[in-house]
Amino acid sequence: MTRGFDLVVVGGSAGAIDALRVMLSRVPADFPSAVAIVIHIPADGPSLLPQVLAIPGGPPMKVAEDKEPIVPGTIYFAPPDYHLLVESGHTFALSLDERVHFSRPAIDVLFESAAAAYGDRLVGIILSGGNADGARGLRAVSDAGGMTVVQSLESSEMIAMPAAALQAAPNSIEVNVAGLAQLLRRGDEVQSA
């Protein structure tokens, strides 16, 4: 099965950076969708993820800004200590609202707002992590007709997050690390076989 998507949202916490590095390593420079990523990180200090995960010759990576239009082919990260949300006009918004699952940014906040804005043009991916953030959000992606993907429990360093996500969205595709690398490899579609 292959399908076109406009936005890919990704969430993870403990153990997710390695999975993310693998997943992003094959993303071509002309990848046609935008990617928005929430990884639980400490609240203070700048986000170094765009630098840490930068791929030579890959798509541009940056920290998302408030009111910024979502541009296809760009990989965005939530800033530390702010929730990242998607508005229906396909722009980003930030908020300092209370933490969700003790987290800000929270995966649920990004995923639920993205599901409302992008409907079935959305892919939600939950990676390794140590709490249940993202489960509710992945369910929202699924309910809105989007595609849902969860890192397999065997390949996850921490399983609480992917396990909760699978329980909330049981129709999700489970992929191991090698599968993650294939997921965003092609320029014209998300691979989901």
Partner: protein, 278 residues
């Protein structure tokens, strides 16, 4: 109620609130507003936004509760210490050249920022000739702000922020225990006397004074693009020529039509300066 609520129901509710209570949330950023409405529905035990609308229209006390969900922002004193350090080292020396200094803290919530500004002015020897106008739409938050009382558990974070903002004194010089067995601290009334708290809406009200510095931090992120631009135009109108504007650490003028009114002054700290021709 989940956040997948229909936009139509949200708009109807916001129209009803505006019509009945004259609070205008119609141009708030929708995604975070929906989350707050969802929380309010859960708290009030209603399952739809229509149900919420019925409650707030017929039970005014429910509206007070909803208002807290829609407006209260949690801030800290000297939040983002680098911002206050830059005000101290680069902005206040310019403001010191004026005979009197007026500062507008827009969206002051429970007062953490105006007290921080008053302390900063005091430490730079400018408080006597300064006025801080602190405004918000939430009357309850303004009452708490005017009381100047904060839980002791929050003071440790405030103290560390103040130190990192180049604090010249200990923060404890500015407050004392609110009572023998109290878990709260009350800030020095001398600071309070230089702050004017008042009700003002960036969505519906206009400029009330000419000012030298506007701080409006982590308020614009809750507004949609149009309202954000309206607010920025108000600030440009309120500011004297070459006056300063301070925004939140993740806010910028980049995506606003009001950007031409301002130039960058200290970009990492999100401090802008009004252009002389604006």
């Amino acid at each position: 109620v989940d956040v997948a609520m229909p936009d139509l129901e949200v708009r109807l509710l916001l129209e009803a609130i505006f019509d009945r209570f004259h609070y205008d949330f119609r141009s708030y950023a929708m995604a975070s507003l929906k989350r707050r409405l969802s929380q309010a529905c859960n708290r009030l035990g209603v399952t739809t936004l229509s149900g919420l609308q019925e409650r707030v229209l017929h039970e005014p006390e429910s509206f007070s509760m909803l208002l807290q969900y829609l407006t209260v922002q949690v801030s800290d004193m000297f939040r983002d210490p680098e911002f206050f350090l830059t005000l101290r080292t680069r902005v206040l020396p310019v403001l010191a050249t004026y005979p009197s200094i007026k500062i507008w803290c827009a969206g002051c919530s429970t007062g953490e920022e105006p007290y921080s500004l008053a302390i900063l002015l005091h430490e730079e020897g400018l408080l006597d000739r300064s006025i801080v106008y602190a405004t918000d739409i939430n009357a309850q938050a303004l009452r708490e702000a005017a009381a100047g009382v904060y839980p002791l558990v929050r003071l440790r974070g405030f103290t560390e922020n103040h130190r990192r903002a180049g604090g010249r004194n200990s923060l404890s010089d500015y407050y004392h225990s609110a009572g023998a067995s109290s878990q709260s601290a009350i800030f020095d009334p001398a600071l309070r006397r230089k702050i004017t708290f008042s009700d003002h809406s960036l969505a519906t009200d206009s400029v009330f004074s000419e000012v030298h510095l506007v701080t409006c931090r982590n308020v614009l992120i809750y507004f949609d693009h149009e309202l954000q631009t309206r607010a920025l135009r108000l600030f440009a109108e309120a500011l004297i020529g070459r006056g300063f504007l301070g925004l939140g650490s993740k806010e910028s003028l980049r995506f606003s039509e009001a950007a031409p009114f301002f130039e960058d002054f200290a970009l990492p700290e999100r401090i802008y300066r009004k252009r002389s021709a604006a």
